[in-house]
Amino acid sequence: MQLPGFLQRSLAARLAASGEVTLSHKRIFLLPSKAGWGFIVLLLLVFLLAVNFQNSMAYALCFWLACLFVAIILRTFSSLRGVQVRVVACQPCFAGDVAECQLHLRRSHSGRATRVETGWNQTDMTAAELLDESESQVSVYWQTRKRGHYHPGRLRLQSRYPSGLITAWTWIDFDWQGIAYPKPFSRGAQPLQASSGKSTSASAHTADTEFSHLRPYQPGDSLKRIHWPAYAREGELMSRHFGTPSQEPDWLSWEQFSGHEAETRLSLLCAEVLRLSTENRIFGLRLPGKVIDKAQGEGHRQHCLEALALFEADTSSDEPSAAPASSVWHGNTPAGGV
């Protein structure tokens, strides 16, 4: 939702950017929802009935509805007040993909049961239920456009709990940022599928047929790799490690793809980094003005991808073109987990 400029400025002053926010009365706005307006119409109808028929109990019902409405306003307000919101992480993703941003919601123990919806606009929100639990984690999804840092916009938190007649909402401007890697292209300039978990393990298994060594089991290792005899012997879980660590190291360099545009080069390099790291090879990366030494492993891969993402990146490049993710992604983990 695009707000007019003066409102944007006023909101920015009122709802200053930060990493963790406790919702207080200053930040919370309240208005009747559509159903709430319907309720007001009902109230007027019952009042007319009471007046025209001079009916005592209809008067009483009318007053009860009105007082209930006031009670609901207060209760809805208190279902958002005191809620603490914190950004857990903005997950990295490839440019053009949908990035997952995790939020941690918590209500104080004196706080009431509530249900908080989060999202970038009113039409498209994900709910976190804090009915019996006091904490909950919720993900919102941000559509990235370009590589580099992305800054998700102002987040809307709203609650209509308990009755749905009143909407209490606030906008939070977190100073959050995540990173979008270049979109990977293979050599034939074919877009490489962002590697899903299944294909990773499959390719890893076919490529690395040669047993290398045993190492202690870590969460995430495939069950197929567990060395069961060792478990039977030692009582400790070991997983078999495949691969060719002794193979000669590769160097990926900027000059390797000369003839392409800079962005295409970065995409091609990204695809190479992904390929080599899935093959568990040792490699290094040479970019103009930056050299990453030869290494292997998850940390090294991230290091290389970040270098590619931030290569000559305009820090604010992502802001104007950024857009909220479409609703397709809601409730699902995006396939492009990196």
């Binding site: 159903a35 319907g38 309720f39 119409v41 009902l42 109808l45 019952v46 007319l48 009935l49 009471a50 007046v51 025209n52 028929f53 001079q54 009916n55 005592s56 109990m57 209809a58 008067y59 009483a60 019902l61 009318c62 007053f63 009860w64 509805l65 009105a66 007082c67 209930l68 006031v70 009670a71 609901i72 209760r75 603490q84 914190r86 857990v88 941690h104 918590r106 123990h109 049961a113 249900r115 709910a127 239920e129 009915l131 019996d132 639990e133 006091s134 904490e135 984690q137 209509r160 709990y161 308990p162 009755s163 749905g164 007649l165």
Partner: protein, 655 residues
């Protein structure tokens, strides 16, 4: 929408339709219930709405049901029936959240409409229940997947409880506005005494236990059962079968209002759709909006569409002592010999008596004795005389079976034939004394007709031939004759009888104090009382406490409700651990420092060594429960946790 939400809406809709029970016909209410349950029986949010044709057919069929029951669409019943029909059929279209809101709001409106027909305590209870169910259904919309129905009901009850005190203040002090426009709607099916009387017409009322009115006496003795004659209409015009009121021109006759009186009695009329009131003999209005009519009867200035109360005093100073000629003519008139219903045998009998007796008193005694001596039999289901010519002749001389209408009509005809001015009075006789509420309750089954005869220089005197035939009909507190024909279950059990009386006295207080509450005068009265406020003596306090006796169960019920609403919910183990964790390091969230219970116990022991015993007391059963659930101990963790948590808080403060 979840299954839970749909189920809760089904409950709310059924309750709402039940509120119309007794207002709309039972068959219509059942039809609507079935129509709405059709939707709910599927309990799924994916609902293919029935085709337009089917929906139209259903609407037409529903309309036909209403019309076939003889309800006109322009009456209030007809309109309410249409509203209820729309409300029930709307649920067949329920697909989206928006439809659910529409159904809910319709339901709330139907509830308010139901008050137009009944404002009894029971109705208010039922409506409150339905109201709470709708609110709970609304809460359930917002709960999402993880909520529970019980939580929704509790939340809605809390919200209603929160808004109740302000609602009561509004009810007490909000000024009542005059109607914005008139509602010219007729009601049907209101039972009550009609303005004419043919001998058989009261029989239909005699079966009805519907309340006609209640009367409460202050400062004057409560009349004994045989003196409880509530005069409603004076019927002087006779055409051979039917008695009607005298000519309209003669009816309005001003009678000076009495201003001083010892005691008074209050009549709280149930809605009758008519305007006449039922009062004891020689009554004068002392409070209320009513007009005097000739012959000491009264009508309300406005039609009695709602409950209304009037106060009267008994005052014999203005008794009529002379009979104008026009009235004498009217009250001795009989249809001529050529008329179809001249009842020649009764007329001849009357003339014969007039020749035999000199004094009118002796004549009256003789006629009354005839009812006792001849084998008359009181029954509500006599042979059909009403349509037969000279039906009263047949009744008095041949069949001798009938009830008050027949006895009163025949007596009046005999007396008129003997030359004594006489008329039939219709109203109520008797009424049930409610000891708890100190009032008399008169039901439709007490409808009665009797005779008044003019005795020169004395005035009108009441004669009740029914008392000669069936004295128990007159002398007993309850109408035992209808009871023996159709004995209610409760009459065999004194406890239930008492309970019934208790309920009835609540109902009276409810109608008198709450429903019939008049804002303007009550506020005035309150201000007056505040101005003249003095501390009550102990005697007055004791009496006030005694007055509160019928309300004694109420605080108990309230306490139970509050206890249910605000009872402590048992905390889950995870919540308890989180609370302790928060106490240790208030800034960190559970996700930041994921600890095992054991680690937490160690940290607590390190931080609060003085509370060692309490910490162990809580953690050892907790760990047992978490890690050996099959050997779970029976004792609850909750009190142990509360004790530990309270001590931790205090320990924090003391440091």
């Amino acid at each position: 929408m979840t299954q839970r939400t749909l189920l809760m809406m089904a409950v709310a809709q059924s309750l709402t339709l039940l509120c119309l029970y007794g207002i709309l016909s039972a068959s219509l209410v059942s039809t609507l219930l079935i129509a709405s349950l059709w939707r709910w029986s599927r309990f799924q949010s994916q609902w293919q709405r029935p085709s337009l044709l089917l929906r139209l057919l259903l609407a037409i069929a529903g309309g036909a049901v209403i019309a076939l029951q003889g309800t006109s669409f322009t009456t209030l019943e007809g309109m309410s029936g249409v509203l209820a029909l729309a409300f029930a059929l709307k649920s067949l279209e329920l697909v989206s959240r928006r439809d659910a809101w529409v159904v809910g709001f319709c339901g709330l409106f139907v509830l308010s409409v139901s008050f137009l027909f009944s404002q009894s305590f029971l109705q208010v209870l039922l409506v409150t229940l339905a109201f709470m169910s709708w609110l709970a259904a609304f809460v359930s919309f917002e709960q999402g997947q993880s909520g529970s129905a019980l939580q929704a009901y509790r939340t809605s009850a809390k919200l209603l409880g929160m808004s109740l005190p302000i609602m009561l203040l509004c009810y007490l002090f909000f000024p009542r506005l005059p109607p914005l426009w008139s509602m010219p709607m007729q009601r049907t099916g209101v039972t009550g005494i009609s303005d004419t009387l043919s001998p058989g017409s009261i029989a239909s009322l005699a079966q009805s236990s519907k309340l006609a009115f209640r009367a409460q006496f202050t400062g004057m003795p409560v009349p004994p059962p045989q003196q409880r004659y509530w005069r409603g209409l004076v019927l002087s015009r006779f055409d051979g079968t039917t008695w009607a009121q005298g000519p309209a021109a003669f009816r309005r006759l001003a009678i000076p209002l009495a201003t001083v009186s010892q005691g008074s009695y209050e009549i709280l009329m149930s809605p009758t759709e008519q305007s006449w009131l039922f009062v004891l003999e020689h009554s004068r209005l002392s409070r209320g909006d009513a007009l005097p009519v000739a012959d000491e009867t009264w009508t309300s200035r406005e039609r009695l569409d709602d409950l209304a109360s009037f106060s009267f005093v008994q005052d014999e100073r203005y008794q009529q002592t002379t009979l104008p000629d026009w009235q004498r003519q009217l009250d001795t008139y009989l249809p001529g010999n050529n008329a179809a219903n001249s009842n020649p045998r009764l007329v001849a009998f009357g003339r014969q008596l007039a020749e035999r007796y000199d004094s009118s008193q002796a004549l009256i005694n003789a006629v009354m004795q005839s009812y006792r001596q001849q084998p008359f039999y009181y029954t509500l289901t006599p042979p059909a005389y009403d349509n037969a010519p000279n039906g009263l002749d047949r009744f008095y001389f041949d069949e001798r079976q009938g009830f008050c209408g027949h006895y009163a009509s025949s007596l009046a005809v005999i007396l008129r034939a003997a030359g004594l001015p006489s008329r039939v009075i219709s109203g109520y006789q008797g009424g049930e004394w409610n000891a708890q509420g100190q009032f008399i309750e008169v039901r439709q089954s007490s409808a009665h007709a009797w005779v008044e005869v003019w005795i020169e220089y004395q005035g009108w005197r009441r004669l009740d031939p029914t008392a000669m035939v069936a004295p128990e009909r007159i002398n007993q507190d309850r109408n035992t004759l209808t009871d023996t024909e159709n004995p209610p279950f409760a009459s065999h059990l004194p406890f239930f009888l008492e309970l019934q009386q208790q309920w009835s006295s609540w109902e009276f207080l409810w109608q008198q104090k709450v429903v019939n509450y008049e804002q303007a005068s009550a506020t005035q009265g309150l201000l007056q009382r505040l101005k003249q406020f003095t501390l009550p003596s102990t005697d007055q306090l004791a009496r006030a406490l005694l007055d509160l006796k019928p309300w004694l169960p109420l605080p108990l019920v309230l306490l139970l409700a509050l206890g249910w609403l605000w009872q402590r919910r048992p905390r889950s183990e995870a919540t308890m651990l989180n609370l302790l964790r928060e106490r240790l390091s208030p800034t960190q969230t559970a996700i930041d420092n994921a600890q095992t219970p054991e680690q937490l116990r160690q940290q607590l022991l390190a931080a609060y060594p003085q509370l060692r015993a309490d910490i162990q007391d809580f953690f050892s059963p907790l760990q047992q429960r978490l890690y050996q659930p099959e050997a779970a101990i029976s004792s609850s963790l909750q009190p142990r946790f509360r004790r530990l948590y309270a001590r931790l808080r205090r320990a924090k403060k003391s440091r």
